[in-house]
Symmetry: C2
Subunit: 240 residues, 2 copies
């Protein structure tokens, strides 16, 4: 036999689950390795090829190219040329692509409960900002308003807290009550690792400018879900 149809769908994995379940179809579309992480990095706005590579250490150029082609093929991202003369090109999520954020949030909440989760691993600035949206606890932000600026690896981000809601964006820091300058893992150490700001400052890992009390309140607003109880998982008899 020659080449019988490998893909009924253009530009996508030759193998499909062949399942009408919406989740199975979503996995057909974005279940390949790196696909969802590429989308994650675009969640705060368009990025260039090189910026994606830098944010995803471990992905190789050819795989990134393939994923971008695939995501473009399904309509999750679009390729745009920037106005000025330069050959600058950026990749941007489509509106439907942005709607994938709940997928990342449910994955993040579930994955954070794993005992194997290692928060000391590298973390991209975008991941940190998205984690604020995911882990924000409105109850802890009662009667609290703040504008937090973050300068992470040279890029500027803003987190706005108010009326029990949180907003996180990549944009110029303006009228911030506090500005953190450092790396995403350093901020994560304060917010999720319980590392005191003073310790991070002493290490030179983080610079905290502005209202100290606001900074200290801010880092308490994002409680991690409790780790799973390992004893409940091994409740079965027999199997060594």
């Amino acid at each position: 036999m020659k080449l019988e149809k490998t893909t009924n769908i253009p530009s996508l994995p030759g193998r499909s689950y062949d399942d009408a379940c919406g989740a199975a179809h979503a996995l057909d579309l974005i279940g390949e390795r790196w696909a969802l992480l590429v989308m994650r990095e675009l969640m705060l706005g368009p990025l260039r090829f090189g910026a994606l590579r830098a944010a995803l250490p471990g992905i190789s150029a050819n795989v990134l190219t393939q994923r971008l082609e695939g995501l473009e093929g399904i309509g999750a991202i679009v390729r745009r040329r920037l106005p000025p003369p330069g050959t600058a090109q950026v990749y941007a999520l489509t509106p439907w692509g942005y709607e994938a954020e709940p997928i990342m949030q449910s994955l993040g909440r579930w994955g954070a409960r794993s005992p194997l989760h290692d928060p000391m691993l590298p973390l991209s600035p975008v991941s940190l900002m998205l984690s604020f949206r995911t882990m924000f606890d409105p109850a802890r932000a009662e009667d609290f308003e703040a504008r937090i600026g973050l300068r992470l690896s040279g890029e500027d981000y803003m987190v706005r807290i108010g009326r029990g809601r949180v907003e996180a964006a990549r944009e110029a820091i303006e009228n911030a009550d506090v500005v953190f300058t450092g790396t995403a893992p350093a901020v994560a150490g304060a917010v999720y690792g319980g590392v005191p700001l003073t310790a991070l400052e002493a290490d030179g890992a983080l610079e905290v400018d502005g209202y100290r009390t606001i900074a200290n309140r801010f880092i308490t607003l994002f409680p991690l879900p409790p780790k799973i109880d390992v004893t409940s998982a091994a409740a079965a008899p027999g199997t060594s």
Copy 2:
């Protein structure tokens, strides 16, 4: 060769994203092909190896074995031996495993909006039942109570609607207002495909016993999200 390959971390994918992001870690755990679909099939209770194979046409025995080992290794499922003499063995989700349902729901909602989604593909009974939980619209079930029995490929399931909530379980049909007898795709045709019950009955694809009006109301309670607009261009600005 002897058997001394015991990886320190049991049966995890050799390659990791090396990313502190919770979503990335979740993908390390259950991002392999078939893993999430295996969990999906266990969402309504434990199943045997053969039942999983039957529900996931396309998976091969060795891959299913690998996935079950992997999911057991991370604590998402447990292997249980059944009481009677037989060598019967079942695979069951742990409490943490059950918590993965929001992942499937967000994937399902997103995937259902894809223009490439083909609802005519095969569908497992469990997928159908989970889709009821995912797509249920409380507003449409206002002042509606019903007990729907489904006999799908010989297995019995119940859907209970009441007080704006839905429950779906694999259990004996009892006191049902309506009983559907047929296959999951046939029921999906009525609920999601807009196929009239009379047409399905005429085809012999579905048998509907009980209160007709309740059956006809029931199949309107699960609206699919609208397909994406292909003409919609790109999204938000933002520079790098």
